[in-house]
């Protein structure tokens, strides 16, 4: 398959940041086209700088390329400047690895971390010469396969994708690969339709095999399979025993600057803290820890193959790993003197402590500390089941400030169910208390607290899937009051920074999150009128979405409010009800009622099972330590770099 690079190269000097289109990243691979029988193109539908560090794409890319006879390349969204030139010169959407046309692959796998990438999918399909609608595609076109968290409700993009995998991808991509290999070896009997039928029979969701019927009032009447291979319910996939899947082993290192420049190791998957707004925590259950041995091996191998200066221990709540103390101490010991920083990007305030603070700051670089109380008042934190107390927070930030940190960042949400102005104003009180405590323990005036506030978006497969989303005006008004409350305090207010973008993008995210197939028409309309990169403020146009929704939805008996600010009732059929994350819908409803009554729910790692339904449905179980596997032996490298090269250890001296 021919590379488009020759035609692309002259255009690169005319676009911004051409480096993002050249590929050739460290640890990327280009395999022979003709020697592969199954060819995957993996896409992260956002700019390269955001997409490249995505762990999901990186993991699948490596797993697939390890297979003989299988080839995987990557593609990302091109910015409008290059899109325009590509259209002018007839250059198709290409992969960055070998610059091959995306339309030539067997599968185009798209990872949706957020719904705001939907318009970018359409750009890529169009540039690739793949018909936008699945029903118009022929045997010549790739299977467009969606995955990622947003794919747990793929209904808004049901028209544009051929198939969807729910949940963990490690094993699913290998099974799909085998299925396609067998299908091709048989000579592709029955063509595309047969391939999709085989995928459906294997538990892959094929939206085209389901009909959605609507009632007069706009509600869904039923979702029924229209094909013998399509099951009534499609279940998510769960990868157990993370130690068997130590990916990425050799993470990609971008030549261009990207949003996360670090060696990331996923230390566990899943979370049962039970925060009711958190879709990730709900759909990735149960908790599966990687062993401390497995983690340290991945870190060492990763540092050797990347040269990164920072190790990030990733998960939904990293300090909750049952062996986190041992892991951080072991890594800090091992990399002492090697200029290798250590960070825990998601840390709960109630799991942070002095020891952890010390290990994280030992090797020079001290990355920022971020905590997410999410709600300002004790009451709203009970509603969302984020059970951290103000005392926890003050104790934790005091620890941080006395251990040398000068700044903490706090994340909150606005627009939560049952929220009042008072709940939001409590954020100001909390931030002021942080500054007061910080000044006291550090004896300094230059400490800062940045509060970053996001608009709450109700997500499918969470207890809040029935909730009314707050209108942007409500959220913006509360934010104005909060700002005033902070700036009016002359003594403390100047040490507090507030970051907030307006509530409008959240409303559109809400439309796309809980939408059904009718929302697909809005997406297409927006894309046709120029919508691109909706996750970027400078590209997002609220008016474009509102007017597209106003044109497309009312003839179908619904509107933007119907999908967003409307509260759902218990008996309503939700667009994603046939897609099973393992969570029991009755349990979700009970948890929603508990939320409204501000009743909290414990974590099943430490208290008895509360029957969320995941483990029995999926045949899974919690996997937490102790793993009884010792850490890698601690031999501090101590040479300024994390890698010991014996070539430099003979007697020195310039030659």
């Amino acid at each position: 398959m021919e590379s488009v690079y020759d035609r692309l190269e002259p255009l690169l000097s005319q676009v911004s940041k051409p480096v993002q289109y050249i590929g050739g990243e460290l640890n990327s691979s280009v395999k022979d086209w003709d020697e592969a029988t199954v060819r995957w193109c993996l896409m992260y539908p956002d700019a390269y700088e955001v997409g490249l560090p995505n762990q999901g794409v990186m993991i699948l890319y490596e797993i697939l390329n390890e297979q003989p006879g299988v080839l995987a390349e990557r593609t990302y969204s091109v910015w409008p400047d290059l899109e325009e030139l590509m259209r002018e010169h007839g250059i198709p959407q290409f992969t960055v690895d070998a610059h091959r046309p995306v339309g030539a692959f067997d599968v185009l796998g798209v990872s949706f971390a957020t719904e705001l990438g939907y318009t970018n999918l359409l750009t890529a399909l169009d540039l690739a010469g793949i018909p936008l609608h699945a029903r118009d595609r022929t045997d010549e076109h790739p299977i467009v396969l969606a995955g990622g968290h947003a794919a747990f409700n793929p209904e808004p993009v049901a028209e544009f994708v051929d198939a969807v995998v729910l949940g963990d991808g490690e094993q699913a991509v290998l099974e799909i690969t085998e299925l396609i290999r067998a299908f091709k070896e048989e000579g592709t009997p029955g063509g595309r339709a047969e391939l999709l039928a085989r995928l459906a029979a294997q538990g892959v969701y094929v939206p085209g095999f389901y009909d959605v019927h609507y009632r007069e009032d706009g509600h869904i009447e039923e979702v029924v399979p229209n094909h013998p291979s399509a099951p009534h319910r499609v279940f998510k996939r769960t990868t157990m025993d993370l130690d068997e899947w130590p990916y990425p082993k050799q993470p990609l290192v971008p030549t261009a600057e990207s949003v996360h420049e670090r060696m990331s190791v996923e230390i566990f998957r899943g979370c049962t803290r039970g925060c009711r707004f958190c879709q990730a925590g709900m759909i990735t259950r149960p908790v599966r820890e990687r062993s401390n041995r497995g983690i340290t091996e991945m870190v060492q191998r990763g540092l050797e193959s990347t040269g990164f200066e920072e190790v990030g221990l990733l998960s939904l709540s990293s300090a909750d790993h049952s062996e986190i103390g041992e892991i951080t101490k072991g890594l800090a010991d091992r990399y002492e003197g090697s200029n290798t920083g250590l960070s825990l990007p998601s840390t709960r305030v109630d799991a942070f402590n002095v020891d952890l603070a010390n290990e994280l700051s030992r090797n020079g670089r001290r990355s920022g500390l971020t905590f997410a109380p999410e709600g300002g008042s004790e009451r709203i934190r009970r509603v969302i089941n984020k059970m951290v107390s103000e005392e926890d927070l003050i104790r934790t930030v005091s620890t941080a400030f006395s251990s040398g940190w000068r700044q903490v960042k706090l994340y909150f949400m606005c627009g939560l169910p049952t929220e009042t102005d008072e709940d939001v104003l409590q954020i100001a009180a909390m931030a002021k208390e942080v500054i007061r405590a910080g000044r006291e323990v550090s004896g300094r005036k230059d400490i800062r607290c940045t509060i970053s506030i996001g608009g709450f978006v109700p997500k499918p497969h969470t207890p809040f899937q029935w909730a009314s989303q707050a209108h942007p005006d409500t959220v913006d008004e509360r934010m104005r009051k909060l700002r005033k409350e902070i700036t009016s305090d002359r003594r403390l207010g100047r040490s507090i920074g507030v970051r907030y973008h307006d509530g409008k993008p959240s409303l559109i995210e809400g439309l796309l999150s809980r939408g059904d197939r009718r929302v697909g028409h809005v997406i297409e309309r927006v894309w046709r009128s120029g919508g691109r990169f909706d996750g970027w403020n400078e590209h997002f146009s609220f008016d474009r979405w509102v007017s597209a929704a106003a044109e497309v939805l009312p003839p179908l008996g619904v509107d933007l409010d119907w999908f967003t600010t409307r509260e759902r009732s218990e008996d309503e059929i939700l667009p994603w009800d046939h897609l099973d994350s393992g969570l029991d819908k009755e349990w979700l409803w009970t948890d929603w009622q508990d939320a409204l009554a501000a009743r909290e729910q414990d974590d099943c790692r430490w208290t008895p099972c509360f029957d969320c339904g995941v483990c029995p449905t999926m045949g899974t179980d919690i996997e937490v330590g102790p793993s009884d596997r010792p850490l890698l032996p601690i031999t501090p490298v101590n040479s300024g770099t994390p890698v010991r090269n014996t070539a430099f250890e003979s007697a020195g001296g310039a030659d």
């Binding site: 001290r366 040479s639 300024g640 770099t641 070539a647 430099f648 020195g652 310039a654």
Partner: protein, 258 residues
């Protein structure tokens, strides 16, 4: 130690920051005992002496690096060569002598392949530019539109045809890979192809190869070329005869006499 390195192939599209990061990570992978700065956020002690702009290749970039302890430079050279990505090659390593390295970089020889303009027109433009005393061109910078004199910084400029030899590395090796079409494969393209070799003094504001191309367009009313691939061939002090002197020569000489 001081070294000369290259920026070839796809890496031409990297910015200087990108390339510095690539190099620092290679140091860490190779386990090079580089010296780090003190302080809150330590950085490896590397001084980059100027840098070719994004989109431009180079055979002659220079930098200086401080090591935490002495190591055989041949070993260092070997280890880095096997660790750095294709396109960024360490061409030469010498022990740092006295005197500033950046001060020795006064001028550059650039080689620019131009496609899509008739050779005869190009020749006329080069002659016109040589005959001019001053040619002002505009460039967009971060601070807005800026006017500079592209002729004033120009020490020499010559034009060569596709088959001309003796103008530095051939198209293939400069551009690093087979991704560059060979012009001699298509005769009609040869007529609309030329290689411009020029010596440009480093001035403030800096005059880049594309500024000189703009100057050619200004003096001869040329169209925009379809392709213009620039490569820095050498950098150094200008001697009286207008030739460029190897900036590492003094270090090499000093090391030899030690």
């Amino acid at each position: 130690m001081r070294f000369r390195y290259t920026k070839r192939g796809h890496l031409r599209f990297t910015s200087h920051r990108d390339l510095a990061r690539v190099f620092e990570r290679a140091l860490r992978r190779a386990g090079v005992p580089v010296a780090y700065s003190e302080g809150y956020s330590p950085h490896p002690r590397i001084s980059w002496a100027g840098a070719a702009p994004t989109g431009v290749a180079s055979e002659a970039e220079y930098a200086e690096m401080q090591l935490a302890r002495e190591v055989p430079l041949a070993t260092l050279h070997e280890e880095l060569r096997s660790t750095l990505p294709a396109g960024m090659d360490i061409a030469e390593v010498v022990p740092a002598g006295t005197g500033s390295l950046p001060d020795r970089l006064e001028a550059s020889t650039w080689r620019v392949e131009v496609e899509g303009i008739d050779f005869s027109e190009l020749r006329r433009a080069v002659e016109l530019l040589r005959a001019s005393e001053s040619v002002e061109v505009e460039r967009m910078t971060k601070k807005g539109r800026r006017t500079l004199d592209a002729r004033a910084a120009l020490v020499d400029i010559r034009l060569h045809g596709a088959s001309t030899s003796g103008v530095g590395p051939d198209a293939e090796s400069v551009s690093g890979a087979s991704d560059v079409p060979r012009v001699d494969d298509c005769p009609d393209r040869v007529q609309r192809y030329g290689i411009i070799v020029m010596v440009v003094r480093h001035a403030t504001p800096v005059v880049r190869p594309d500024d000189v191309l703009k100057a050619l367009r200004v003096v001869a009313d040329l169209p925009t070329p379809e392709v213009a691939r620039a490569t820095r061939l050498e950098q150094g002090r200008l001697d009286d005869g207008g030739t460029i002197v190897d900036p590492l020569a003094p270090d090499r000489a000093a090391a030899g006499t030690r």
